[in-house]
Symmetry: C2
């Protein structure tokens, strides 16, 4: 039996899948951050190109992937779907466990699936430079990779705690030709204000987003890009689930569980959304979202309108949130330290279509090391949440179930966090309820 299922390159999907028209309840619209009125597309055009704004609002079920994007995808796609037989044996599983390996992309994670089209559409519209934030560094690396493919300039604001934990990220982003600043930085008003208040501030994704948005809004040749949360990002990530569906068919499998870690929701959404029509048609597929107990957005956040960033520059979105002013603990899975979640994922969560589970970082590193010692590959700390969850699911599920998880990225640039784990130096922090209550008090009060 083949343990790695390679989709032939000529069967790579030629269109992305857009879940918006298939949601059982329509998505709550984005609102203007100042007026709280319905957001009009022109409000977004200061920071996004037209093509992406159109995709953000589109109700077309499939959107063609441009040829030049497919050319770059072909450097690493289709990615393999792999049967984790040695992991199954190690945990005495009676289920079959597969992982979709997105770590094989040049930047080492699934983030390239959206960085490539985002750069492409910006380039088409004459943009010269892209600004963005990054948590663990996966998104910043993916964007600098894509900018180098299309010969664009790239500025990355990296959450300071991760910038310090992961010095190799900076070098790699520089090698691709991008520039990078630890956030809070002195480059923006948002950064300077935070540093004035707290010179030792370790940053958050919410704050880094504010910096990048401000950079884009204050420079004519520059636009902003976001690596998660938004509808068009999940659209681009759908290639993961579309390929997985074909590969499972090649293997003669039907999935019972689809599992992804959730920070902003892009890898999870990319894996599960293409299976939404089948789930809604009655197929028994469980969508499992794995998040950290230190930043438990889906399991303990409030489902309401909130800002996407700390400085309240982004549109208001209805989502599960811990409050835009929430400053998460410096856990090693930097990519999962976000106060909110993709509105599409939250919409499904509110419909009872997502099984969300929260984990301590210690148990996730333990799962990652078991994966390392059985399957051989070193997972990113974010990805370890999906592995932890897959192991739990495979132990609980009906024997013979097919469990698929998304291996979102490798951990080669996250080895300092493994060092902390091996030295027994990891805290198993769980967010106290009063922190959530306090941060939520800062949210706007909006009906709907």
């Amino acid at each position: 039996m083949e343990t790695r299922i390679n989709l032939p390159q000529n069967e790579m999907p030629s269109a992305w899948y857009n879940a918006l028209p298939d949601l059982p309840t329509p998505l709550a619209p984005q609102l203007d951050p100042q007026t709280h009125e319905l957001l009009t597309p022109d409000k977004l055009s200061a920071i996004f190109p037209e093509a992406l704004i159109e995709q953000e609002m589109s109700l077309k079920r499939f959107i063609e992937i441009p040829e030049q994007v497919k050319d770059i995808y072909r450097l690493f796609r289709p990615t393999p779907l792999v049967r984790a037989k040695r992991l199954e044996e190690a945990i005495g599983s009676k289920c079959r466990i597969y992982y979709k390996n997105e770590s094989v992309s040049p930047s080492g994670s699934h983030k390239t699936n959206t960085s490539v089209p985002q750069v492409y559409y910006n380039k088409l519209e004459g943009v010269k430079r892209l600004a963005t934030e990054t948590g663990a560094g996966q998104w910043g690396t993916a964007l600098s990779f894509a900018c180098s493919m299309f010969d664009m300039k790239c500025t990355v604001y990296m959450v300071k705690v991760s910038y310090e934990q992961k010095p190799y990220r900076k070098i790699l982003i520089n090698a691709y030709g991008g520039e990078i600043f630890p956030s809070p930085s002195m480059q923006t008003n948002a950064g300077r204000e935070m540093l004035a208040k707290d010179p030792d501030c370790k940053g958050s994704l919410g704050l880094a987003i504010s910096e990048a948005v401000e950079d884009a809004a204050t420079h004519d040749d520059t636009k902003y890009t976001l690596g998660s949360v938004l509808n068009h990002v999940l659209l681009h990530q759908s290639i993961v689930g579309l390929e997985t569906e074909k590969q499972l068919q090649m293997a003669g499998e039907k999935p019972d569980y689809l599992i992804g870690c959730v920070g902003g929701g892009s890898n999870f959404g990319g894996l599960v959304l293409p299976f939404l029509p089948r789930k809604l048609a009655g197929e028994n597929i469980t969508f499992v979202a794995a998040e950290p107990k230190a930043c438990p957005t889906l399991t303990r956040g409030s489902f309401r309108y909130d800002y996407g960033d700390m400085a309240r520059l982004t549109p208001l979105m209805k989502m599960h949130t811990l409050g835009h002013a929430f400053m998460p603990a410096p856990i090693h899975a930097g990519g999962l330290r976000y106060h909110g979640d993709a509105p599409i994922v939250c919409n499904l969560m509110a419909e009872g279509l997502v099984d969300a589970r929260a984990y301590y970082q210690g148990e996730c590193f333990e799962a990652a090391q078991l994966f390392l010692k059985t399957e051989g590959f070193l997972p990113a700390p974010e990805t370890s949440h999906a592995i932890r969850s897959a192991i739990q699911v495979a132990k609980e599920a009906k024997p013979g179930s097919c469990v698929v998880f998304l291996y979102s990225g490798h951990g080669m640039l996250d080895l300092a966090s493994y060092d902390a784990y091996l030295r027994g130096d990891l805290s198993n922090y769980e967010l106290p309820q009063d922190c959530i209550d306090q941060a939520l008090m800062m949210c706007p009060t909006i009906a709907g």
Copy 2:
């Protein structure tokens, strides 16, 4: 057209190719390091298991790959052969350039191809622990990976200059369950003697080999493993060339140039040796060996009997050597800092069957960055020599030629060296002739 050629898993070669019976001139035999007499197999059994000694001497053209080794290979093999179209375009090439991507293995390089069978055969014969040396860390990582797959203990002596340049290597080897010491270490007589002479010694592969061999020879439950040079290592690496041959056939290609970087010769040998019968039968295939000007073994070494290590513990082998006492400059391609070369590769070199070329490290990093910015992936500093050479060959070759190089490993754990490159902080050292002359004076004088 498919740009990535995936060999189906069920077509993974089931036997390794052994070049020994096909060499135009028989390989000069290994000699006893004390007596200078012909080495008998029993002399090797203090440090190697019987199965590997048998493979070292075997004249069988094909040797079956054990099932348990194939099971581990299947975690990452077959590896893709990739058309580097964007690189071709960037250099205005009229040739087709392919690379065989061995960086997709769990440890990130081709070294896993031999670490897996070496651990397997040792385990079969009851060995509990394996000791080895590592230069850049690729081999140490590959051995600790393989030991973790077969539940064996692992001790790695890592050349100190690389140990300090690449702190993540230590963590990764620890995460697999291995232990690691910078060499020279206080664990062995060889290490202690060197530290007494020079407390600041940055180490060499030759010295680290002495430490690992001494460790194995002085502990009953422990054997030694070598990641390059020896015949059985090149045998295991032949899977690279065997797969490449099938993949080129799938692509309708015949190779005109096969290119690999050379440190000890294992990745180069693995790629080219399976094509030796075709070359000897008259096909016009050029084998190009790319090495650093700072350690120019094939291009400027002397072809003679020498020890494999600094402490003169290994058998004497006839090879191109800069002298076993040679201490190479601390260039970033740590895996290419070896005074000798695989006897099989040297045998072919002496027959005029290898086109060896030496490069400055600066031009290699430049080639690596061009590869990064076109194909997207970050090469190991060793691999950058093969890329440099492939670009040179593609520019010089007859239009329409098919150029294949071995992408031996990724550079995710070598980013400190890219930092030095980007800061303009790399020396373009070329080894002076008197250094070679001096080191060669320490070689034994043996006819033949």
